[in-house]
């Protein structure tokens, strides 16, 4: 009897949870479906949910009209490039703070985090002017530099919390056995920290991919990533719902898939280790 009741309760809760999750997810699903419609079907009233003539023409047109691949290429180069460089700078820093902390390590970590709190508009003007004078506006180098600096504190923080979890005993054992600093890093620390580094990287790529303040303000065409590509659809031109949907699907699909893989690390990364 009690069993039956709890099963019934479980089914009821499940149905409710699925309805809520479906509603939250719906705008993405709707965008995906609309991207396969003709423009007429896209604005049909009543809306056509599944039974319409499926077509790929929007995808072809989006590529042709606004050169999706150019922007996608920039997004990939920027989000991977910026964070690879970021990692090269952040790993040694996080490593030394985790394993050879000094008196000021904690203050230093807090200060690094505080740079993340500065609102972008506070430095928009000087960065814009510096970029203009150094001819960095609308270049991959310039935008990549900004994206790298934006993520650097998060990279260091996440890596630091991962490195902290590596047991110190193992390091001491390696040192007892006469391992040099370099060997210690190469053969002991690296294998143990690969999962942490990988999930840090994943989160950092997602953040860079979706960064929309600096990319909109500093890039116009040559170095513009997908955020700017989508922004070019903000001025409606006739029937463009299906094309907008196709462009949106193309812009979010890669990162959605990456994001789903990294969702467990997300909590930790975005709360700077405050919630695990």
């Amino acid at each position: 009897m009690a069993m039956k009741q709890s099963l019934r309760k479980r089914v009821g809760v499940t149905v409710l949870a699925w309805v809520v999750a479906f509603l939250i997810f719906f705008p993405i699903l709707w965008t995906f479906l609309t991207s396969f419609k003709s423009e007429l079907d896209a604005i049909a009233m009543p809306p056509k949910f599944l039974f319409f003539h499926w077509t790929l023409e929007n995808y072809a047109e989006v590529q042709e009209r606004s050169n999706y691949l150019h922007f996608a290429f920039n997004s990939v180069v920027l989000s991977i490039g910026a964070n690879v460089v970021g990692l090269i700078i952040a790993v040694p820093a996080a490593w030394s703070m985790a394993f050879a902390p000094g008196k000021r390590t904690k203050d230093l970590l807090m200060w690094m985090l505080s740079t993340k709190m500065m609102p972008a508009v506070g430095v928009l003007v000087p960065i814009y002017l510096l970029f203009r004078d150094l001819h960095l506006l609308d270049t991959l180098t310039g935008i990549g530099l900004v994206l790298m600096l934006l993520n650097l504190p998060i990279l260091i923080w996440m890596l630091y919390t991962y490195f902290k979890e590596i047991p110190v005993d193992i390091l001491e054992a390696a040192r007892m056995d006469g391992a040099s600093l370099l060997n210690e890093i190469l053969y002991v620390l690296t294998p143990m920290s690969v999962p942490g580094i990988a999930s840090t990287m994943l989160l950092a790529i997602i953040l860079s991919w979706n960064e929309a303040f600096w990319t909109l303000n500093l890039a116009t065409s040559d170095a513009a990533p997908l955020t700017a590509f989508i922004a070019s659809y903000s001025a409606p031109e006739g029937f463009f719902w299906a094309k907008l949907s196709a462009a949106s699907t193309l812009a979010i699909a890669p990162i959605l898939i990456l994001g789903w893989f990294s969702q467990k690390q997300l909590v930790r990364g975005l709360t700077f280790g405050a919630v695990k």
């Binding site: 508009v121 506070g122 003007v125 600093l181 959605l256």
Partner: protein
């Protein structure tokens, strides 16, 4: 355990990060401060000079600033209330013994990975369009006339879009916090005959209070900087109805080319964000001790 040798090596390893972040933060900030005391118009660069606090008095007494400040507070406050309350409900629901939790989680977190320009345009055109949007169809089917979202309720529309972006974040973090609740504590509460409300009030809420604080602080920092959603939908309008402080500063700097005034605005934004940041830093710092 740290030897002299490793400590010295450590300094060199940390140095690049420190120098980069220092240059990235302090130098532009100092420049912003400097510009904010100057008359500096990009279109008329010859007419410069020290003007003291004139930019600040001009910026702060500008009716557009008051409107932007008000809009910023409304936007941040509303999205916080919606996403945190909604997030608690979603997290409580997902914490129940449901079938297919992993798939559910994927669906709930998905909006967080959508870039802001996409979410804003999809909501504006596919859902909220008064002629062919899905909401218009639902309204008509129920016998109401469709709401002209972005024209009649511009701020509410932005709030809806931004809340959709942040609800998943709050839900995911609060769910993580809920899942760390002790099974034994749950059972003890049940044995003691705690009703659902007192169970929530005395056991659940205290347990997730810290996570809620973290969500509120982190969201506040990001919400104070909402920009792309406004940029691609309303451009701050109609009038200044959806102009928040970041958008106002952007407008003055890159559309009106008034560097001095925009810099003063930037400094005001930094001060606002810092008030929140101090609290967040304390929370995170406390965690470092453990």
């Amino acid at each position: 355990m740290a030897t002299q040798q490793t400590t010295t090596a450590g300094r060199y390893l940390v140095a690049p990060s420190v120098i980069l972040l220092f240059v990235w933060m302090i130098v532009p900030l100092a420049m912003t401060l400097y510009f904010s005391t100057m008359r500096y118009l990009l279109l008329n660069p010859e007419r410069t000079g020290f003007v003291g606090l004139a930019n600040y008095t001009a910026f702060l007494s500008d009716p557009n600033f008051i409107a932007a400040l008000f809009n910023t507070l409304i936007l941040v406050g509303s999205v916080l209330v919606i996403s945190v309350c909604g997030g608690i409900l979603v997290a409580l629901l997902m914490d129940q013994p449901v079938f297919g939790l992993n798939l559910l989680r994927l669906m709930v977190i998905a909006p967080f990975f959508v870039m802001p320009t996409v979410s804003a345009l999809v909501w504006k055109n596919l859902l909220m369009n008064p002629d062919s949007g899905l909401f218009a169809w639902i309204a008509r089917s129920l016998g109401f006339s469709p709401i002209v979202w972005f024209t009649h309720y511009p701020m509410l529309s932005i709030i809806v879009v931004v809340s959709w972006e942040w609800l998943p974040f709050a839900s995911l973090i609060l769910l993580t916090a809920l899942q760390s609740l002790d099974e034994e504590q749950k059972e003890a509460a049940q044995l003691d005959g705690a009703g659902p409300i007192s169970y929530f009030g005395y056991i659940v809420l205290p347990h997730i209070a810290r996570a809620i604080t973290v969500v509120v602080l982190i969201e506040t920092i990001f919400l104070l900087s909402v920009f792309a959603e406004i940029y691609v939908t309303t451009s701050g309008g109609p009038g200044v109805a959806t102009t928040n402080i970041p958008f106002l500063v952007y407008k003055q700097a890159l559309l009106d080319f008034d560097v001095g005034s925009a810099s003063a605005g930037g400094i005001v934004a930094v001060v606002l964000a810092n008030i929140v940041a101090i609290f967040l830093m304390r929370m995170v710092g406390r965690n470092l001790e453990g």
